[in-house]
């Protein structure tokens, strides 16, 4: 199996896209989590702060008896502790605090969020803590974290698959061009092998014959060089189909122009040409491609015609039909005639190089035209459907 550079490029693109999108996604969900968490903590901290604030006001008030502190109303899920530093007495409501050292501000202790402050009443120092059990909240945050993680993972995987698929589409035009080039190179190297052999063989013979009686060999070489010239031009043409400028092209005019160019060959065989123009056909295409398409079909109709034969061209809105008299094409060979270098019979002259109908097919394929061949015993008919 040949190493496929496109598969490699696809993998690279896929990995790059996935990596970047996973990075962005992770950052995104990470920040969602972080901000949400901060928001929740902030709300709860506010609540605790206001409790401590109220309590400390009460504690500061000399008129308030400390035992009354227990009657202060606080929300059910919060608790309060007041620690008399001098007397080492703990007053608490809802839940005992286990805090041993003093701190001021917020602290998370186990599942609890605690806000603490210190107040002096006379000579006595009070530490006031208000706390709240956040275990439910933390559990739901944990859940959120998990959800975000799975989501990130799933979306990243989705992007991986998606980018593998999309990379094919991104690369397909490049791949097409590349394959075309490669095919061209292969064709050139393949198709030039036989003519090269002809030249080298003839040169060998010329040398062996000591440059005597070499007229035929020189002729062989010059014929082959002409053939190679045509071949390279045709191959180059095939490789450039569809890369040229497109505009509306009048098919009727093209056919008439090609007929006039081919008229010497038509007269030589004394062929009767009938042109039936039922409609004016205009196609969005490259002028050169269309000229080649129809000139090749017409040349074919001339080349494989009987002397004094007939060519009937019918131009309709969606189709052009080119019918010619001549030896009927074998049913089993109908598909083969579009193959490169195929010739139905071997009474070949050096003209053309067997690429005529192959070029027709390449052009038709490029423009999505359909080519149909009908053989009825009298006529061979080529129909181009736009």
């Amino acid at each position: 199996m040949k190493f496929d550079p496109f598969l490699k490029a696809r993998f690279k693109i896929t990995i790059l896209i996935s990596f970047i999108s996973t990075l962005i996604l992770s950052a995104f969900s990470g920040s969602i989590y972080y901000f949400y968490r901060e928001q929740l903590l902030y709300e709860n901290a506010d609540e605790l702060k206001s409790i401590v604030f109220e309590v400390s006001k009460a504690v500061e008030n000399p008129a308030v008896d400390m035992s009354l502190i227990k009657t202060i109303k606080i929300p059910r899920d919060t608790y309060l502790c007041i620690y008399n530093y001098e007397a080492k007495i703990v007053l608490y409501k809802n839940k005992m605090c286990n805090i041993k050292e003093f701190f001021s501000g917020f602290k998370i202790h186990g599942n609890d969020l605690i806000f603490g402050t210190a107040i002096k009443k006379g000579d006595t120092l009070y530490y006031i803590y208000a706390g709240k059990d956040l275990s439910k909240l933390l559990a739901s945050l944990e859940k959120l974290k998990l959800i975000l993680f799975y989501m990130t993972f799933l979306i990243s995987f989705g992007i991986l698959v998606f980018s593998f698929i999309i990379s094919k589409r991104i690369l397909s035009p490049i791949k097409e061009t590349f394959e075309k080039q490669e095919r061209f190179t292969q064709n050139v190297s393949h198709d030039l092998r036989t003519p090269l052999t002809v030249i080298s063989t003839n040169l060998y013979v010329i040398k062996q014959k000591n440059f005597q009686n070499i007229k035929q060999n020189i002729e062989n070489i010059s014929k082959t060089v002409d053939y190679m010239k045509n071949l390279v031009n045709d191959l180059l043409f095939i490789s450039q189909i569809g890369e040229k400028e497109k505009k509306p092209v009048n098919i009727n005019e093209i056919i008439k122009k090609q007929l006039s160019i081919l008229s010497p060959k038509i007269e030589e065989k004394n062929l009767g040409v009938i042109l039936k123009e039922e409609e004016q056909v205009i196609v969005e295409a490259n002028q050169g491609d269309m000229e080649k398409l129809f000139s090749n079909l017409l040349e074919n109709a001339i080349k494989y015609n009987y002397p004094n034969g007939e060519i009937i061209i019918t131009i309709k809105k969606k189709t052009v039909s080119i019918k010619n008299t001549g030896k009927p094409i074998d049913k089993e060979n109908v598909n083969k005639i579009f193959e490169r270098f195929y010739r139905e019979d071997n009474s070949r002259s050096s003209e053309g190089c067997g690429l005529g109908l192959a070029i027709v097919k390449e052009i038709a394929d490029h423009y999505n035209f359909k080519i149909k061949v009908k053989v009825d015993g009298v006529y061979n008919e080529f129909i181009v459907r736009f």
């Binding site: 393949h190 092998r193 036989t194 002809v198 003839n202 060998y204 035929q216 062989n220 270098f341 195929y342």
Partner: protein
């Protein structure tokens, strides 16, 4: 030695014929697979040079068909395709050798010689018969160290007898291998040439008559 060249490129076909003829072979040429099969059926060849890309019936098919018919003539395939799969296919189907275009003529000639040698009874290129030495590659005959003048036709007859040393070579076989069909050779022609050959070799006992059938060299 008679060779059939099957190649659809006219120029190459004609040049191969010319070059092989310059090297002392008798050559028939055909341009497609169908003709090739007709020729192979009708005549006896020492070697078939067969192109793969042919009109009507391709080279692989031709090779397959003749092998199925039991014809063991050596086949040298020519192709423009350099793919290993193609080479393997050709050899599997019964081709004896394989040359990729563009090939070197010297190599082609060497392979032609090798294939013919492989098919013949006499395996070496330099053969001694009594006091006569025959160099099948240089196409020369020596007696007592001196080179003998010999025409291509007579050398062809001698070569056929040497290649099939110990076996009887029939009149028909000699006519087939050493004369063009358009020459219309008869047994009388063969007899006359054998007589001439014996005279040149200055030895009557090298070539034995096998009456009514042909000749042989022991």
């Amino acid at each position: 030695m008679k060779i059939l060249v099957v190649e659809d490129n006219k120029e190459l076909n004609n040049t191969l014929k010319e070059i092989l003829e310059l090297n002392g072979y008798l050559v028939d040429t055909v341009y497609d697979g169908e003709q090739a099969l007709e020729y192979i059926d009708a005549f006896d060849y020492d070697l078939i040079i067969l192109d793969i890309m042919l009109p009507k019936i391709d080279g692989f098919q031709v090779c397959k068909i003749i092998r199925e018919k039991g014809i063991n003539t050596p086949v040298l395939m020519l192709t423009a395709k350099d793919a290993v799969a193609d080479r393997v296919k050709g050899l599997d189907i019964g081709a004896d050798d394989y040359l990729v275009k563009p090939f070197d003529i010297e190599e082609l000639l060497a392979r032609v010689r090798a294939l013919i040698r492989r098919a013949s009874v006499e395996k070496s290129n330099i053969v001694k018969i009594g006091d006569i030495t025959v160099d099948l590659e240089k196409r020369e005959v020596y007696k007592d160290g001196k080179s003998l003048m010999i025409t291509p036709k007579l050398f062809c007859i001698l070569e056929q007898l040497i290649r099939n040393r110990g076996k009887v070579v029939s009149y028909e076989s000699l006519m087939n291998k050493c004369w063009d069909i358009t020459d219309y050779p008869s047994r009388e022609t063969v007899r006359a040439n054998i007589k001439l050959l014996r005279k040149i070799l200055q030895d009557k006992d090298i070539i034995h008559n096998v009456s009514g059938v042909g000749y042989k060299i022991e």
